[in-house]
């Protein structure tokens, strides 16, 4: 019975992974298709669509802009998200905590059309009242991206702070360091890997956003997802396949590299712990 169950489970794992990866693989394969019709195989070409992509000014300009927006928003969101995650873990009681935790969690699931519309209406009301932000563009898109990516980063940081060993911070405090110094000298370096992965997560989410950007954007700052979306609406385009392949390649290499690195660190930590235990046992 147990064997039969595990057979089913293994088969299920394989089938679902096939489901998750088949579309991604097909996009990559067809980026090497020497035919203008994306789904009709016309022989192999290594670089036809990549050269076409590199010569598409519209896509390149939009990509540069999107990378810029993603870098700025993710940096700001990482600062705010780290503080928010810290507050959620370290300050269990303060006035408005429930509201705060609700506002941190809600953007994660809030339908994007609602977030996008509400932020645009805010920007317009603010412009009418205080004259800032003037019009829609880089500033408004960045503020919108910071607001919804900071939630993702806060969740990452919250789980990191939850598992953090307090003894080092306590030791520093006992030795007379002020809370602010303890945070910057002790806490921050320890949680740095989580901050880096939080930043990367924020970066990719910002880079990928279409709906909130469309609401909060103005003319002249068209982002990469907006260009891709308008092209996809007109039909399949092999250049999009080439672009997708580049994105998938970068992400895969990054994630695989990060996983290997984390596993190595984990092993190192286990080794250190064992050595410490042995040292204690000897003494």
């Amino acid at each position: 019975m147990t064997n039969r169950l595990s057979w089913f489970v293994i088969l299920w794992l394989v089938v679902v992974f096939a489901f998750l990866y088949a579309p991604i693989v097909s996009v990559v394969v067809y980026s090497f298709n020497d035919s203008k019709l994306v789904t009709v195989w016309g022989g192999f070409t290594l670089d036809r669509w990549y050269i076409a992509l590199a010569n598409d000014r519209q896509i390149i300009d939009a990509a540069v802009l999107s990378l810029e927006i993603a870098a700025i928003s993710s940096t700001l969101a990482t600062i705010l998200g780290t503080v928010a995650g810290y507050v959620l873990v370290r300050f269990p009681k303060f006035m408005g905590r429930t509201a705060f935790s609700g506002m941190v969690n809600a953007p994660l699931v809030m339908p994007e059309v609602i977030t996008g519309l509400s932020m645009l209406l805010l920007f317009i009301s603010m412009e009418q009242l205080i004259g800032w932000p003037q019009g829609r563009g880089l500033t408004t898109v960045v503020i919108a991206h910071v607001t919804f990516t900071l939630s993702y980063i806060a969740v990452v940081m919250r789980s990191r702070f939850l598992t953090l060993d307090l003894s080092l911070e306590e030791a520093a405090q006992d030795l007379g360091a002020r809370p602010l110094k303890v945070f910057f000298v002790i806490t921050l370096p320890i949680v740095l890997p989580a901050i880096v992965s939080g930043w990367l997560l924020g970066f990719t989410i910002s880079l990928d956003d279409l709906v909130i950007t469309s609401f909060t954007n103005g003319p002249g700052t068209t982002t990469l997802p907006q260009v891709v979306f308008s092209k996809v609406r007109l039909g399949l385009d092999p250049k999009i396949n080439a672009l997708a392949t580049i994105i998938i390649a970068i992400v895969s290499i990054g994630v695989i590299f990060a996983t290997i690195h984390m596993r190595r660190q984990e092993k190192q930590r286990q080794r250190d712990e064992q050595m410490a235990i042995r040292a204690i046992a000897k003494a």
């Binding site: 679902v16 705060f100 699931v109 509400s118 997708a244």
Partner: protein, 316 residues
């Protein structure tokens, strides 16, 4: 006493010291400031906008920039509920789209659960090193562009797409099945895009489960399948709720998937909001639609929030 005092002042960073002095002279405690920074940001940019949506939803349409006004033709300030909300209740199109979105989101959530549960269960039962690799493989598509993953399905589902080509080639069908621009494609797109959101909380829950409970049950003569439904499933209930909310809530307002994969008949409320706003430039109605969606999502959002708080409490 003097010695410790001087040691303290030495240990201070110069930067933190003047910030500290400034705050002290203003009478603000550091803790308050730390809380205030993200709190005020979220209040201003996340909470306040909803109040403005509520405000605009009772405005009149006008030809101006921005295209709404709170004054009627006589110049009086009025709450205009009739135009926006009145339209929502009287026009069958809105009600149909609204209900259809709920149905599509609910069915997609159930499909995600049915696919995701055995999958997360299988992952959690693998050895530690295999588990990490599988986890990475689940997260990987999540990091690649959502828009591109939806785009990929167009290439597979089209009449001359990969799936039809393969089915014709193996002789299962003679002419292509129309899968693009159907409700089927919308379900497929939503399930595909949101499946990782279902799997991850389920996995996190099942991974922590105490296996000795199941061993005890089987030792006492309980059949494995029964043990699964009597012990594993009820214990994983928080994971089921979290995963379901992570799929259901955003799926209700989904715009990109029905727009790219669905046809004109795949009416979803997120699409209605979009076209009211961008095509008709009817901002009050778009705002009223947003409020209507939020009303339906209040309870799911509260369930989700309660789960998040419980997890935090449990772990700390």
């Amino acid at each position: 006493m003097a010695a410790t005092e001087s040691a303290r002042s030495v240990s201070r960073l110069p930067a933190s010291s003047w910030i500290h002095n400034l705050l002290q002279s203003l009478g603000i405690r550091g803790r308050t400031l730390v809380i205030a920074i993200p709190f005020l940001w979220l209040l201003l940019y996340f909470f306040l906008p909803f109040l403005i949506v509520l405000k605009v939803s009772v405005a009149f349409i006008t030809i101006a920039q921005p295209p709404y006004t709170h004054y009627n033709e006589a110049g009086h300030l009025v709450f205009n509920i009739g135009d926006s909300y009145g339209r929502l209740v009287s026009d069958a199109l809105y009600i149909k789209a609204y209900l259809n979105s709920m149905v599509v989101a609910a069915i997609s959530t159930i499909i995600c659960l049915v696919i995701g549960y055995p999958f997360a269960y299988g992952m959690a039962r693998c050895s530690h090193s295999v588990r990490n690799i599988l986890l990475m493989l689940v997260i990987l598509p999540f990091w690649t562009s959502f828009l591109i993953r939806v785009y990929a399905w167009i290439g597979l589902l089209k009449n001359n797409g990969l799936i039809n080509d393969v089915l014709i080639w193996i002789g299962l069908i003679d002419s292509p099945i129309g899968m693009m621009n159907t409700n089927f494609a919308v379900y497929l797109g939503i399930v595909y895009s949101y499946l990782p959101f279902m799997i991850l909380p389920l996995y996190a829950n099942l991974e922590k489960m105490d296996m000795s409970l199941i061993e005890a049950a089987t030792d006492l003569g309980c059949k494995p399948l029964k043990a699964f439904f009597v012990i594993t499933v009820p214990l994983s209930f928080p994971g089921i709720v979290a995963g379901s909310m992570l799929v259901f809530i955003p799926a209700v307002g989904e715009y990109v998937i029905p727009e790219l994969l669905g046809g004109p008949s795949s009416l979803m409320i997120g699409r209605v909001l979009w076209s009211e706003f961008f095509s008709n430039r009817d901002w009050p109605t778009a705002s009223a639609v947003a409020i209507a969606i939020l009303l339906a999502l209040v309870v799911p959002l509260m369930i989700y929030q309660k789960y998040q708080d419980k997890e935090l409490e449990k772990e700390s």
